[in-house]
């Protein structure tokens, strides 16, 4: 070990001394050394002229191509070669020679500027080798992972295609089934409709008869009440005691008015009262129940349906209620109130319910209804299944239509999302879908672009993804994001930035872009230059 160390020190010392004199003109790379022969006239490398050798590196530019001053800053277009033993050799523009800034790690560019440069080549070389090694490992592992991803994608692709084929076959069957069930449903609904109509009609007739009965009873009751002297006749004066019957609303029922109501007669018997009753029954207050308001006729459309719900289209209502559920809580409260309210309002009606409620369907009708309902349920179920099948097929077909790379290696990113949290925001990349940004401490999400296209350079468009048409910027363009893909073992968003306003740049590592590692020798190549 000691020997090796000593040797290294020696080499180091020599390179810090005046190695250029020994090596040939300063700043010339090994490959061009042959053109610079000590004490022989030098011909500019572009062949433009020949000059004495003492004009090479004499700090004056003689050659148009700058080749006579490889080691000075004299030529505006010259370049300086640093050997950088232990690290990479490098060319720098001549203008960086002796400018007081250390550019070459071997310090050779600052030989006359007073800049205190340290030889950092060994360290840089070590670091670079480490990085390279790490990169190679990553690339190697990444590439293996990529193979795996390709396999998976291939398998997945095949599976999906088979699945789609299967599904399309199933869909055909479903289509047929839906049609059959539709016919069954329609066939069952016709007799159901007829039976229900019959039932309704019968009930209407029955209700009319009952109403008539009730009216007659009321009339009889009223006759008895009005016939104060119980002489079997209602007289004009007896009628006058009921001021509410006053036609001109002046508060009193005059004799003439009363007589008018009685069709001009002085008094009427029970049977004639039948013709008077229609004139007064709307206003007539029974003496026994003076405060009771006139019974309100329930409008026909509010007639309580029978227990069995025979509504043939349940979906629209369901949809509405779902939407409303998503709305404000206020509205939910309102609904709750609604639910609670009816009992109090409807209480008086309850007493009439027995007579107003439609009687249950008879067994035959009910049977028809049950049969039709079953047919409807069956049909709907089949139709829903068909719709779901369609969706599935569409989704798979959409997925299959994406360009997931030459070997479908990007397939695995589909329907995934990756997040990166920065100081202020959480960035979210959902490949082939969208990019978004959400403030870390609350606030709404901003769309930074939806999937546009691959937009890398011509030789490999799969190195960049473009997401476009995001949320518009105030007085600016719509937000867009470029995603730069680099090889990595992990699939991670590594950084985000906004180089121009509303144009985002996201860095993303994935094994899917790892290239097959070249079979190169990684050992340091500095010895060549030494």
């Amino acid at each position: 070990m000691t020997c090796v160390h000593l040797l290294l020190t020696l080499v180091f010392a020599v390179s810090l001394g005046t190695p250029v004199e020994i090596q040939g003109p300063r700043g010339v790379p090994l490959t061009k050394k042959q053109f610079y022969v000590e004490n022989k006239p030098f011909t500019c490398l572009d062949g433009s002229r020949t000059i004495p050798f003492d004009r090479v590196n004499d700090d004056y530019c003689d050659c148009k191509d700058g080749s006579d001053e490889p080691g000075t800053a004299a030529c505006p277009n010259g370049s300086f070669h640093c050997t950088n033993a232990g690290y990479r050799t490098m060319f720098i523009p001549s203008s960086r020679i002796n400018d007081g800034i250390c550019d070459c790690c071997d310090t050779t560019d600052e030989y006359n500027s007073g800049a205190k440069c340290e030889n950092t080549c060994k360290e840089l070389g070590r670091k670079e080798r480490e990085v390279l090694q790490k990169m190679t490992e990553i690339t190697k592992e990444g590439f293996l992972l990529k193979q795996h991803l390709i396999e998976e994608a291939k398998k997945g692709h095949q599976e999906k295609q088979i699945k789609v084929t299967d599904m399309q076959e199933n869909k055909k069957q479903l289509d047929e089934k839906v049609e059959v069930l539709r016919t069954v449903k329609e066939t069952a609904e016709q007799p159901e409709k007829e039976a229900k109509e019959r039932h309704l009609k019968a009930w209407e007739e029955q209700k009319a008869a009952i109403r008539l009965e009730k009216d007659k009873a009321k009339m009889a009751e009223a006759f008895l009440e009005l016939d104060d002297n119980a002489d079997g006749f209602v007289s004009v004066s007896e009628l006058q005691s009921h001021a509410e019957l006053d036609a001109d609303a002046d508060g009193t029922l005059t004799e003439t008015e009363a007589q008018g109501l009685m069709g001009g007669a002085e008094q009427v018997d029970m049977s004639t009262f039948e013709s008077v009753w229609p004139n007064i029954k709307d206003k007539y207050h029974s003496e026994s129940q003076p405060e009771e308001p006139a019974p309100v006729e329930t409008p026909p459309d509010e007639v309580k349906e029978p227990v069995v719900d025979n509504d043939s289209e349940p979906y629209p209502e369901d949809d509405i209620s779902e939407e409303e559920d998503e709305d404000d809580e206020d509205e939910d409260d309102y609904h709750e109130d609604d639910d609670k309210a009816p009992p109090t309002i409807k209480t008086p009606e309850k007493s009439h319910e027995d007579e107003d409620a439609m009687p249950p369907y008879d067994a035959d009708t009910q049977a028809l209804i049950d049969a039709a309902q079953k047919a409807r349920d069956d049909f709907e179920e089949a139709e829903k299944a068909l719709r779901e099948m369609d969706d599935q097929i569409r989704n798979i077909e959409k997925e299959l239509s994406f360009d997931f790379g030459p070997d479908a290696e990007f397939t695995y990113l589909y329907s995934q999302c990756y997040e990166l949290t920065t100081g202020e925001y959480i960035y979210r990349l959902c490949p082939f879908n969208r990019v978004s940004q959400k403030p870390k401490y609350g606030g709404s999400e901003t769309n930074l672009g939806t999937w546009g296209s691959w937009s890398g350079p011509e030789n490999n468009k799969y190195l960049l993804m473009k997401y476009e048409h995001g949320t518009g910027c105030w007085q600016g363009p719509n937000r867009s994001t470029t995603v730069k893909l680099t090889c990595g073992k992990e699939t991670v968003v590594t950084s985000t930035s906004e180089p121009s306003r509303c144009e985002y740049l996201m860095e993303f590592t994935t094994p899917a872009v790892c290239q097959e590692p070249a079979n190169t020798d990684l050992s340091p190549h500095d010895h060549v230059e030494l």
């Binding site: 004299a74 203008s95 400018d99 910027c473």
Partner: protein, 796 residues
């Protein structure tokens, strides 16, 4: 008095004669007299039988004296209160305006009174608005319009073939200038007819100045040469500050470089593309919540690390410090200003508050000397955290801009001590820059020169740094107008002027951007800047060909830095503008009087930038009968006093060197000006037809006041005469050592010598040379003498 120099020469006038109605006074110079007439009152300045200038000859002198508001007064609308939109000006002193007229017999061309986005030659204002001077933060300003912009310099120059004069109306209140002329509307033919018929009345320009308040305080500068007017005006308001050499390099700015990482990668971009630059700039987003003197803790957590990184590359940074201060009890600057009671007050005596970038803001009263001293102390390294010696400052929004104020500025009845804002409005911005520059000087113990850019300005602002033309737009017309705008400023003392390269608002086309770099590289202050909403436009983002074009022109700028620096030194010493209209050096050539699409840099370079889209050629006027001009790129010689058509491509920048001049260049362009400090010079000797040329060479350390305090500089005259080029010391008692040397001498328009000898230290040594017959260019190879030495090169 801030506009004025501290010491102003003055002397007594002697009475020549006197009668009941007036006196005749001698002005001390030759046969110049001032005739004072009492009824009607007027002043006439005469030279011999000629009237040079008359005051109040039209009787427009007006003076609304201060008075108390009495309830018994008849109310006239606007007299004691005015409203503009939703703003009310309480006008506690009532109307206070002043006015005076000036007549200029024999004058058809007047210039100056910036800032307006208009032609160099001022137009008559008959039937239109007068030129307005009222510092305003104008959003997307209109061109060819007398509307007020960000700065005001109430100085007008009048010029004819015989004489140049100036009028300095010292008033910082809102000011209007009306111009009329008796030759307006006359066609060239009409003028000719007058001439032939001999009926021509003498052309005359009449000017009327009106200010809202203050006193009539006027300085007349009688010339007679343009350079005399410049030095006369300089004796009143001082000269251009001598900036650090690096600030003449290229500045890369954008609203905003987002974070330290961004700064680093832009810095590296310049090196990767081998483009020089000296300053990178940070706009308002760098500060923590727009609290100036602070750094955003997330984006710029380690400002010193960033500045050190730039320093390692010999580069610098500018960070913005605006004069509106966030009202925030957690902000040191605000708290100190509050406790020291340094804020401007509103009419009720409470702190004036307005809306600006940080939200609710206070405005320090920069008219107070104690306030300025305190502000200056805030730039000390221990006060301004994260600052280092390579951090400089930019004062924006110092009109002052008040988003919710009348015309986006401060209410006129706000109070600066006992003075209303209306009285001092136009000088507020000057004081901001003054205090900032003072702070930068003080932080180095008075050793280092400051660099401060300002948007608002007033007469005298030239003493404190650079000025730019505000928020222009990426449009060809805005590129064009940058020339007359900076020329007008140069005429009234402000030499260090530039426009945002590329245009601030909107995105420039690639062609416009390239043309703007080509123009900006030949204007004194060379900074690219862009609005937050624009796409990135660093020079390498437009393909390799355009990168190469931009690189080339920035390199041309850097090669010429020795010349620029020498011109700034000259401006600092004499008041001569750096970027000049042609008529300044060709005052008798009427063809030059209205030219503002080309200009001179110093006396020796003529630039005609290409400012038309898709241009295939430009016609440049080369002045000077019997003179010659050399194309600086090809060395082709052209005769003076001609309109020269120059075919152009996208790479063309028509620039000519005057025959008879010597320009020193540093042709080894490096990544920043500081890197070029010790590099050798190449002398470009452009011979006149009489085989004569002269020039100067100025060298100092580039950044300190030692040139002034210790006479540490080299100033040499270079003369080519009788086939000998000689370097003579212009300052024998100066001492400065340079390691720069003369690497090459190019003599344009030379004939081939048989031998060239260098005479130095009593020795003669032969010098190698080459001669290019086609262009008559003699190149002397590596004469090698130190740039500070005495020497002669003999051509035999």
């Amino acid at each position: 008095e801030a506009g004025l120099n501290a010491v102003c020469p003055r002397w007594r006038l002697s009475v020549l004669s006197k009668d009941d109605n007036g006196v005749v006074l001698s002005l001390g110079v030759k046969n110049q007299r001032l005739i004072v007439s009492a009824r009607p009152f007027r002043l006439d300045i005469m030279q011999g039988p000629e009237v040079l200038l008359s005051l109040n000859s039209r009787g427009l002198l007006a003076f609304e004296h201060l008075r108390l508001h009495k309830d018994t007064d008849k109310e006239e609308v606007g007299l004691w209160e005015e409203t503009f939109k939703s703003h009310t000006d309480t006008k506690p002193n009532g109307p206070t305006s002043i006015s005076l007229d000036f007549s200029l017999p024999g004058v058809e061309h007047v210039y100056g009174i910036p800032e307006h986005a208009d032609d160099l030659k001022l137009k008559t204002t008959d039937g239109g608005d007068p030129y307005r001077l009222y510092n305003l933060d104008v959003f997307q300003y209109e061109l060819y319009n007398p509307m007020a912009l960000y700065g005001s310099i109430p100085v007008m120059l009048a010029h004819n073939t015989q004489r140049t004069m100036g009028i300095f109306w010292l008033n910082a209140a809102e000011t209007w200038v009306d111009i009329s002329s008796n030759t307006t509307g006359k066609t060239v033919f009409g003028k000719m007819l007058d001439f032939v018929q001999g009926s021509s009345e003498n052309p005359q320009t009449d000017v009327r100045w009106i200010s809202e308040s203050g006193i009539i305080d006027v300085f007349i500068m009688l010339g007679p040469k343009p350079s005399d007017v410049f030095s006369q005006y300089a004796s009143l308001t001082g000269t251009q500050s001598f900036p650090p050499l690096a600030s003449l390099g290229y500045h890369q700015c954008r609203w905003n470089y987002n974070d330290q990482e961004d700064v680093k990668s832009v810095d590296q971009g310049f090196d990767q593309h081998d483009i020089p630059y000296d300053f990178i700039w940070l706009d308002i987003e760098h500060a923590d919540g727009k609290r100036y003197f602070t750094w955003d803790p997330h984006k710029f957590p380690q400002p010193k690390e960033m500045l050190q990184g730039l320093m390692d590359k010999k580069r610098k940074m500018v960070a913005i410090v605006d004069p509106h201060i966030r009202v925030d009890s957690g902000y040191k600057i605000h708290n100190e200003i509050t406790s020291k009671d340094f804020y401007v007050k509103n009419k009720d005596g409470r702190n004036y508050e307005g809306w600006c970038w940080p939200g609710n803001s206070g405005y320090p009263d920069f008219t107070k000397p104690e306030m300025r001293a305190w502000w200056a102390s805030m730039f000390a390294y221990d006060q301004y955290e994260g600052s280092m010696e390579n951090l400089f400052t930019w004062n924006d929004m110092n009109e002052p801009s008040v988003f919710n104020g009348p015309e986006v500025t401060m209410h006129k009845d706000a109070l600066h001590g006992k003075w209303e804002h209306r009285d001092i409005h136009n000088i507020y911005g000057l004081y901001v820059q003054m205090a900032t520059a003072e702070g930068q000087t003080r932080r180095s113990g008075g050793v280092e020169r400051p660099f401060v850019l300002t948007r608002a300005f007033f007469a005298g602002s030239q003493r404190y740094g650079a000025v730019w033309t505000g928020d222009n737009a990426a449009e060809w017309d805005h590129l064009k107008i940058s020339i007359p705008m900076c020329l007008s400023l140069g005429l009234v003392g402000v030499s260090f002027c530039g426009a945002d390269v590329g245009g601030f608002f909107k995105n420039p086309s690639t062609e416009l951007l390239v043309r703007w770099y080509q123009t900006g590289a030949y204007q004194p202050f060379f900074r690219a800047h862009a609005h937050l909403d624009t796409t990135r436009r660093e020079p390498w983002l437009f393909g390799p060909e355009n990168t190469a074009l931009i690189r080339e022109v920035i390199r041309q700028r850097y090669a010429l830095l020795p010349y620029w620096y020498q011109l700034l030194y000259q401006a600092h010493k004499t008041g001569m503008p750096v970027m000049r209209p042609l008529w300044v050096d060709y005052p008798k050539d009427t063809a030059t009087f209205t030219i503002d699409d080309e200009f001179l840099i110093g006396r020796d370079l003529l630039v005609h930038p290409v400012t038309e889209e898709g241009s295939r050629g430009v016609t440049a006027y080369l002045p000077g009968a019997g003179e010659v001009w050399y194309d600086v790129h090809t060395f082709q010689k052209h005769n003076g006093a001609q309109n020269l058509y120059i075919p152009v491509t996208l790479s063309s920048i028509p620039v000519f060197q005057r025959g008879g001049s010597i320009i020193p260049r540093k042709d080894r362009v490096r990544r920043s000006s500081t890197c070029m400090e010790n590099d050798p010079y190449t002398l470009y000797v452009a011979l006149s037809p009489k085989k004569f040329a002269e020039g100067e060479l100025y060298i100092d350390d580039g950044h300190s006041f030692n040139y002034d305090t210790k006479k540490e500089f080299i100033h040499r005259s270079l003369t080519f005469a009788n086939n000998a080029l000689t370097s003579n010391n212009l300052c024998p008692n100066c001492n400065f050592l340079t390691s720069s040397w003369i690497e090459k001498v190019l003599i344009l328009g030379a004939s081939k010598p048989s031998k060239v000898l260098l005479k130095m230290d009593g020795k003669e040594t032969p010098v190698d040379f080459e001669f290019d017959t086609s262009m008559s260019v003699l190149t002397l190879r590596k004469p090698g003498m130190n740039a500070g030495a005495d020497w002669t090169l003999l051509l035999q």
